[in-house]
Symmetry: C2
Subunit: 307 residues, 2 copies
């Protein structure tokens, strides 16, 4: 089985949506990515940091699913990263109410020896220098390094971000971030500029409008599943990334066709994530749930066409 | 060959985009629909009205392509409908600068006898009572009646619109119009409400985000082709409708699978429309152009997935 190195935050979130308040629940990019990827390829190596307040039960649960937590730093006397946000009525925009970096502010990732030959790497949204420190500790070039980032790092750490971008194969960001990073309104033009920055693949997440994959002159577009209700969009992007890297690791081989399938798997997993608060939905899925949802994506987007 | 009855405006447009100004060019929903549908099923019956200022050369050109213009009223002493608009930088929103209804203000459509048994009907965006007058003149129930409309009619003629909706099979509108018509933010919920209003099929145009087809509990989502540049979006929706109804007429049989293919054809044709000002691109296409573009849609959205 391939190995997946996952780096990212593990956190507490407090979320308010038009449907209600979550109170303090488990969140964080690495949490969503690890849970989701474990459905496809449970050989996962986790790099993250939490405080003494983070529940051991979640760490145990991840381990039970196959996640190696040797690379998880637990700082007993400090507090975990905390984020609080409120979604607007359309669920497409949100206000951040509180961000407490806590342990994340001084995070210095150290890779255990047995992580240094991972086949696949998913760098969850984190400061770009922390993401880079992880890649630089690898002994061998992984088959595929994917990274997420956000507008915040484009604003305050563009130079660091540019250095990290040179080291990755796949950049996963949203449409607005693509426009900000490249100064191009057209996503096609934006993709070309991003290919000059380092990545060979670009995946643009468009929320309810689906996701786009670019590679050279090739493009692939997977729709999002239209839903009656989006209960809580928090973590949908990380879940997408988890489904993507999980499927790629399971497939083993980096090809454009596998990449296409991987963004369908990512989209399918993300469509579960938004059904409940936080990671709730992502810890309870069965293989039958996943197969059924994939079939919904096939029905939604696939049709035989004579050209 | 099936027959397609097309109703809608024929007009002059004056368009400004970030790329330039069109000056006064040919536009109008029926123009775009008829040109586009003629590539698939040239047996088209046109119902519209123009003034004495409308160029005979355009009418001749349509006739050369197979369009029957007996139902086109030419009011020699009056002026054609005129619209002028300016697109914003993102091309997703526009300001209407001038609307001169002229002949359209008193348009009373009269169906020639040989139009009254048309197999397929495409009601382009027009006042809903004019659209209804057309359907009511038909001798037989067509295989499929599709209609476009817009927020303007929802604002000022909701009762008339509701009456017309009861008579159609397919409603083709955009996402914002769906939300306005139904009061539902979720398009899935909106579709259910629209099915209670009359239509059995709903097609939601989402511009650069593609198009969604709803029928009962079934959904299909065709992406839009990501483009380097959108030169002029005017008429893209009408072109989509023309490709849709043209393909349906060519296929002959109303099935959900044909409908899926029809929205891919509609999307492919719309992707041409935006490449140049006005109808310019829609009058010059070859079968090879269309086949190539369809292949681009297959490459963009189709992948074998083992579930």
């Amino acid at each position: 089985m391939s190995s997946i190195l996952v780096v990212g935050s593990m956190a507490f979130d407090d979320i308010e949506t038009p449907f209600g308040k979550s109170n303090k629940i488990i969140g964080g990019a690495a949490t969503y990515i690890a849970y989701t990827a474990s459905y496809f390829n449970p050989n996962i190596q986790l790099v993250s940091v939490v405080g003494g307040d983070f529940p051991q039960s979640v760490i145990d649960d991840l381990e039970d699913r196959g996640v190696n937590t040797e690379g998880l730093q637990v700082k007993k006397d400090e507090k975990s990263f905390f984020w609080s946000g409120k979604y607007h009525l359309d669920m497409n925009s949100r206000d951040t109410l509180v961000t407490e970096l806590n342990v994340l502010g001084t995070f210095d990732p150290v890779l255990p020896e047995n992580y240094k030959n991972a086949d696949f790497v998913m760098l969850g949204n984190l400061s770009p220098d922390v993401q880079r420190k992880v890649i630089e500790q690898m002994d061998n070039r992984p088959k595929l390094v994917a990274m997420d980032t956000m507008n915040f790092w484009m604003d305050i750490a563009r130079e660091e971000l540019d250095k990290t971008l040179k080291l990755v194969d796949v950049l996963i960001i949203n449409d607005e971030e693509t426009r900000q990073l490249t100064g191009e309104y057209s996503l096609v033009k934006g993709a070309k500029k991003i290919f000059e920055m380092g990545p060979r693949f670009l995946i643009i997440k468009k929320g309810e409008h689906g996701a786009l994959l670019f590679h050279g002159e090739q493009m692939f577009y997977v729709p999002a599943l239209p839903l009656e209700e989006v209960f809580d969009p928090t973590g949908a992007g990380d879940t997408f990334a988890g489904g993507f890297i999980g499927y790629m690791a399971k497939a083993g081989e980096v090809s454009f066709d596998n990449m296409k399938r991987a963004i369908i798997y990512g989209s399918a997993m993300a469509s579960f994530c938004v059904e409940k608060f936080g990671t709730q939905r992502m810890v309870e899925l069965t293989q039958a749930d996943i197969d059924q949802r994939l079939q919904a994506f096939v029905d939604l987007s696939q049709i035989k066409l004579e050209v």
